[in-house]
């Protein structure tokens, strides 16, 4: 187990170095930050001074090593646009994105799994057909359209929920702005979380359904029935548990997607999270932010993958054996 973890951590480090190199090359290829930052009538001397200040005159390798070294210390440089350390900017924005992603994941998993179980058991019932047809909408409608439709219905027409922003937030030790403790903050979370999680919900549901149908055909389920086990035991203790390995794999990746690529939802709802920061930095060719965002996304995915691997071992004793061997 420990050896396995060490091996996985080593692999994770390799992945991170590769991503860091890619992030660094951003600096070389995405526009010229200097021309973005100075006014049009700046002198050449002023431009050169800024270039030197940003460290753009050093040799490539040095710049790259410098970048990786500083990244390890959470120093991602100064944002070209905001003139503020990138780590501060991301730190301010991260709680908004993480809370949004957490609620969206809960929504997707909390509804997706039960619906998947139901439709997997009652594969031909009327309700199943309705749910499956509805899930097609969730899969096929683009996120921004769902967001706009929800805003139109619940914010503009019914006035039930706010249409943009985080609402009221409270601060934890000045580090973490949370919207989870006030009713205004919670109300503001509903629409963006539904928008962000809907696709994942349908994905989880469809996966659980197909896995359930697969497992319910197996001999051990038949044998369970032949022993007179209750439906509850058969569906949940045996069938659902046996669907979890593939389901957790997908959920792990999808949570990463929710955190790292909530850009569209955050834009539609003007949600002050990292995605919105990212889109602004793209418009401005604010490379330090983009590079840091890329690294952060990689960290999220690598971490989630590690968590998924550990969960595998907790669920399936056969994988534990394979790891020990």
């Amino acid at each position: 187990m420990l050896a396995f973890l060490i091996r996985r951590l080593f692999e994770a480090a390799l992945v991170m170095i590769v991503v860091a190199i890619v992030a660094f090359t951003l600096f070389r290829f995405v526009g010229d930050p200097v021309s973005q930052m100075v006014s049009q009538d700046a002198t050449i001397a002023q431009r050169e001074a800024l270039k030197a200040e940003l460290g753009l005159n050093d040799p490539l390798i040095v710049q790259c090593a410098h970048f990786i070294w500083k990244s390890l210390h959470f120093d991602f440089g100064i944002s070209y646009k905001f003139r503020e350390p990138v780590v501060n900017l991301l730190g301010q924005r991260m709680p908004a994105t993480l809370e949004l992603a957490a609620i969206a994941s809960l929504f997707a998993i909390g509804i997706g799994i039960p619906l998947g179980v139901y439709t997997g058991i009652n594969r031909d019932s009327l309700l199943t057909r309705v749910i499956m047809a509805g899930s097609l909408i969730g899969v096929s409608l683009p996120t921004f359209l769902i967001g706009i439709l929800l805003i139109y219905l619940f914010a503009v027409t019914l006035h039930w929920l706010p249409s943009y922003g985080r609402g009221e937030t409270t601060s934890f030790f000045g580090l973490w702005q949370t919207g989870l403790l006030t009713s205004g903050g919670l109300r503001a979370l509903v629409l963006p979380a539904v928008t962000l999680g809907l696709f994942q919900l349908t994905l989880v549901m469809r996966l659980v359904r197909s896995e359930m149908m697969e497992v319910l055909r197996t001999d051990y389920i038949r044998f369970g029935r032949a022993r007179g086990l209750t439906n509850r035991a058969i569906y949940f203790a045996h069938a659902l548990k046996n669907t979890l390995v593939p389901v957790i794999t997908v959920i792990g990746v999808e949570i990463g997607t929710l955190i790292a690529f909530s850009i569209i939802t955050e834009t539609v709802f003007q949600w002050p999270g990292m995605g919105l920061l990212f889109i602004q930095s793209v418009q401005f060719a604010d490379i330090p932010i983009m590079a840091a965002y890329l690294l952060l996304s990689a960290v999220i995915f690598v971490t989630l993958n590690l968590v998924v691997d550990i969960l595998y071992m907790l669920i399936d004793p056969r994988i534990r054996v394979a790891v020990r061997a």
Partner: protein, 329 residues
């Protein structure tokens, strides 16, 4: 003789298809007595497994029992609600499946699977159920049962897993066991052990067993009576010794003639020409008539009923009167 523990009368199972119902079991009747092992033999698709599945009420749609009755100790069980039927399964009638490698939930310790089954049917505490689970594993011959109870299925060999499956089927002490090809997926040497175990358990516990197999050797070793099935019907039923030595139905004769023997001198095994008809194309009269050398015009139009013929009961207008040895010789 006392009343049979399980009594099946004129059982009919049909599958609804687009081109109308397909009759997979057609008028099967038999009695199973206490402590008796009744073997069911026949080719694949003859309806042996389906008969067992029907008795325990586990036929999957589109299959359905469309006629006849099944009585357990005199009480009809083919019309029970899903919940009532569930209480009978495992408690009154247990079932053992063919493949021990896939019959156990891979993610659950075998002890937990046993405890779960016991608690479902018997009002005992978890600790008591656990003690029973260990006892059951000992009964089916698993060494170091007290430790093995914590093991997962993948930690057992095939033969050991089939023992676990048997322990699970016996967990709530059912009166009838349906063993569906219990040894088919096992090595020959392990087969003998499992058969010996089944034999021991049935005589110790006085259970009645429906033993479904296509292996006449297994039947000969353990069964008291045997039913030969063909195209969804029982074509012959009788004491094992008689059916093996002197079957009356030409199909049974063909089956017995195709068993390899150490003593026989002829080099080639007899085989029955042709194959069993599809359910969609059953002949009008006796289903075996197209393959039967004794068939005449009557066999093609009229379906023979089961009747006493010689030593056994068979469904044939022209029963064989000679023994297997004579026919082979």
């Amino acid at each position: 003789m006392s009343d049979p523990i399980l009594s099946v009368k004129d059982l009919r199972v049909e599958f609804a298809t687009r081109s109308g119902p397909l009759r997979a079991i057609d008028g099967v009747s038999f009695d199973l007595n206490k402590g008796e092992v009744l073997g069911f033999v026949g080719e694949s698709g003859a309806g042996k497994s389906l008969t067992g599945t029907a008795v325990i009420g586990l036929i999957d749609p589109p299959g359905k029992i469309t006629g006849g009755e099944i009585r357990l100790e005199g009480r009809r069980i083919d019309h029970l609600s899903i919940e009532e039927l569930r209480r009978i399964r495992g408690r009154e009638i247990g079932m053992i499946f063919q493949d021990p490698l896939t019959s156990l939930d891979p993610l659950m310790r075998i002890g937990d699977q046993l405890i779960e089954t016991i608690i479902t049917h018997v009002a005992v505490s978890r600790t008591e159920a656990r003690a029973r689970a260990v006892k059951l594993l000992e009964d089916v011959g698993i060494p170091a049962a007290a430790e093995r109870v914590m093991s997962y299925p993948h930690e057992f060999s095939g033969g050991m897993r089939q023992r676990v499956v048997i322990a699970l089927a016996l967990a709530a002490e059912p009166k009838v066991i349906i063993a569906d090809e219990p040894t088919t997926a096992l090595d020959v040497s392990v087969q003998a052990q499992i058969i010996a175990l089944l034999k021991k358990l049935t005589s110790e516990r006085g259970m009645a067993v429906m033993l479904i197999t296509h292996d006449m050797g297994v039947i000969a070793q353990i069964a008291n009576r045997v039913a030969v099935m063909y195209s969804g019907r029982i074509v012959e039923i009788g004491p094992v010794a008689d059916v093996v030595r002197q079957p009356a139905h030409p199909y049974s004769m063909g089956l017995m003639g195709s068993i390899p023997s150490l003593h026989a001198e002829h080099a080639r095994l007899k085989q029955i020409p042709g194959s069993m008809p599809r359910l969609t194309a059953l002949p009008a009269g006796c289903a075996f008539s197209p393959r039967c050398e004794r068939a005449d015009a009557r066999c093609k139009v009229e379906r023979p009923a089961l009747a006493a013929t010689g030593m056994t009961t068979s469904a044939c207008f022209h029963p064989v009167t000679s023994t297997v040895a004579e026919v082979a010789g």
